[in-house]
């Protein structure tokens, strides 16, 4: 958590569309200079939340403060925020430079040359130097996005809002832009609030992530905590891949003992129960990369079990196996790096599986 006062502060924010309850009591503080992500499936309210901050949607109740000032009744054009739209919203009748300079019209303190220099700098910053005279409609998707970024950043907003800015780009370009956005954010030091449904993107780019489901924040944490210590099955399932196994838990004084279907008995500490220690029947989660296949009599570093290869997906660098464990209905997924000399198992083969009880996470049933 940041110690400086928050730039964006939401208190018990609700939003109704007619009878539809889109935002259900959002409490959120976003610190200065943070790269913050709102992550969730479509329809979870993340875009609504972003648009509320921008001023395109009114709050039904609750308060929104931007750098300490109440934004109630302040229209979008008077807020210290700027937005990169999902469609980029590049003005088709203007050139690249005119698009970038759009928001500078009201800056009467700058003369023509000063404005032109600012535009030049902004284009330079997003790697579009020399594109100023181009017509906006003659740009590729990636270039349009850079224009949208330059157009927003030139106004030096307190908060830059990004509405799924990378979803329209192809995979290679998306990965490149993820790095560039991160670099740009560090460079300008402005608070970025990113809306995305792509959990990988959120993990790569963010300082902190708020995972949203059905108008509520399910968990707010940094990427590592979110991935390693999800507080609910829903979050665990949404972030990366998580195997869920039925189990039964008996609490002890410092650690609990769980009997897990397909894996056997294991000890579990309170830190492995982010949502509090369940009792009795529960669900145990385990990530694919924390399990591995043991080849040719290799000894297990920790615990060992076995199962049949049910299905496999070869990704080149990795192979994902679906392994049917004894006594478990749904096969578990595990991933193996395709190291030199390591063979890829075939369907139906029996595999020895190594796992570690430190990787387990317990959820209520």
């Amino acid at each position: 958590m940041t110690t400086t006062p928050p730039i964006v502060s939401l208190r018990d924010v609700h939003k109704y569309y007619g009878t539809y309850h889109a935002l259900r009591g959002i409490d959120l503080d976003i610190g200065a200079g943070e790269f913050f992500s709102l992550l969730g499936p479509s329809g979870c309210g993340k875009t609504t939340l972003l648009r509320t901050i921008a001023g395109f949607e009114d709050l039904s109740s609750g308060t929104l403060l931007l750098s300490g000032q109440d934004m109630a009744g302040v229209p979008a054009n008077r807020r210290p925020t700027n937005m990169v739209f999902q469609s980029y919203a590049i003005f088709p009748h203007l050139s690249v430079a005119e698009n970038v300079a759009f928001g500078l019209r009201r800056r009467s303190d700058l003369n023509r040359q000063a404005k032109a220099a600012l535009v030049e700098d902004a284009l330079d910053m997003v790697g579009l130097d020399g594109f100023g005279a181009r017509a906006a409609h003659a740009l590729s998707g990636g270039q349009r996005q850079r224009v949208a970024l330059a157009r927003a950043l030139i106004l030096k907003p307190k908060v830059l809002l990004l509405d799924e800015p990378l979803s329209a780009l192809d995979k290679k370009l998306r990965e490149q832009m993820q790095n560039e956005l991160r670099r740009l954010q560090r460079h300008v030091g402005i608070t970025f609030v990113l809306v995305t449904h792509d959990q990988e993107e959120a993990l790569i780019m963010s300082d902190r992530i708020a995972v949203m489901f059905e108008g509520e924040i399910a968990q707010l944490a940094d990427p590592q905590t979110l991935y390693r210590r999800p507080t609910s099955r829903q979050v665990a399932d949404f972030i990366g891949v998580m195997n869920f196994l039925p189990a039964s838990l008996t609490a002890g004084s410092t650690a609990a003992s769980v009997e897990i279907a397909g894996l056997g008995r294991a000890a579990i500490t309170p830190e492995q129960c982010p949502a509090g220690m369940p009792t009795g029947d529960c669900t145990i989660g385990i990530r694919p990369e924390t399990m591995s296949i043991l080849f040719d009599g290799e000894p297990a570093p920790a615990r060992e079990t076995s199962g049949q290869v049910h299905e496999l997906a070869y990704y080149g660098d990795m192979t994902y196996y679906d392994i049917a464990l004894d006594g478990v209905e749904k096969p578990v997924t595990l991933s193996m790096k395709n190291l030199v000399g390591r063979r890829v198992l075939e369907r139906g083969e029996t595999a020895r599986i190594s796992w570690d009880e430190r990787a387990l996470i317990a959820f209520a049933k």
């Binding site: 054009n77 937005m83 469609s87 919203a89 003005f91 088709p92 203007l94 928001g103 019209r105 157009r151």
Partner: protein, 291 residues
């Protein structure tokens, strides 16, 4: 190699397909146009037509002040009609596009076209009833005591022609403007607001420039047919509201001088073409100068 007979190659098949409409267009558009051109270079010799090519008609048309006056009046009336129609149509199109809920838009557009359900002629007659000396407008205004005597400047003159035509052509202006407004990505308006512009400046900097193609289309669609209209000036224009089309009709039917009528028609066509081209050219220049 196969023999490329008729109906086997794509080109031939395409030509076969478009032949009927092409023939139709040729007979109904090209032939009359060529005939008008031809007539304008012939001359009337009492009851017969002298087929010797001559520029006599053009010389007469350009030297006779009445014709020039009628053409000028036609251009002015059509210009006034176009200005009125487009200026009034824009707010309507804007309202339907931006403030009517999406599921009601087709209903609104449908209602805007309702005047078309009655014949053009009947609509013109109705305006006569409304604008007449003892008409609806005058009786109402006298009734509420706003005026003491009936207004006379609203019927049988150019004003009446402008009012009637502006009403008749309103849907032609509303529809293209509506279409161009509908095509504007609404996130552009949000982007403008986000970048610090209020509603008025957003309209001036984003909505209006993007609606220009619709306004240009509306202007041409209204201007071109109104300049050649002859029913409305004939019925509500009185002597001071007559236009060039009325003279063309008089030449053809009353004065039995088809060549002179054809000549006036060609001149009117040429003027419309020149004005339309200049308008489009200025527009391109304006758009280019902005980007």
């Amino acid at each position: 190699m196969k023999l490329k007979g008729f109906g086997t190659s794509d080109t031939a098949r395409g030509l076969t397909l478009i032949a009927p409409p092409a023939l139709f267009a040729l007979l109904l558009l090209a032939v009359p146009l060529v005939a008008i051109f031809a007539f304008s270079f012939w001359s009337q010799d009492f009851l017969t037509i002298d087929y010797t090519p001559t520029l006599k008609n053009y010389r007469e048309a350009l030297s006779e002040p009445l014709y020039g006056q009628l053409i000028l009046r036609s251009v002015l009336i059509a210009g006034a009609v176009t200005l009125t129609t487009v200026v009034l149509a824009f707010p309507i199109a804007y309202f339907v596009s931006f403030h009517v809920p999406a599921n009601r838009k087709s209903l609104w557009i449908f209602m805007i076209t309702i005047p078309f359900w009655t014949s053009y002629l009947i609509r013109v007659f109705l305006w006569k009833v409304i604008l007449g000396y003892n008409g609806v407008l005058n009786s109402t205004l006298i009734g509420v005591g706003i005026i003491d005597e009936p207004l006379t400047f609203i019927l049988y003159n150019a004003n009446a022609v402008v009012i009637t035509l502006a009403h008749a052509f309103a849907p032609f202006a509303i529809l293209p403007i509506f279409v161009s407004l509908e095509k504007i990505d609404r996130s552009l308006l949000e982007a403008s607001r986000d970048l610090g512009e209020n509603h008025v400046m957003t309209f001036l900097r984003v909505t209006l420039p993007l609606a220009v193609p619709g306004v240009v289309a509306a202007t041409l669609i209204v201007f071109i047919p109104t300049i050649g209209d002859y029913v409305t000036p004939r019925l509500v224009g009185g002597p001071g509201g007559l236009m060039i089309a009325n003279m063309i009709q008089t030449q053809f039917l009353k004065l039995n001088n088809a060549p002179m009528g054809a000549t006036l028609a060609v001149i009117a066509m040429a003027i419309v073409t020149v004005i339309a081209l200049v308008f489009i050219f200025l527009n391109r220049r304006w758009l280019k100068a902005r980007s």
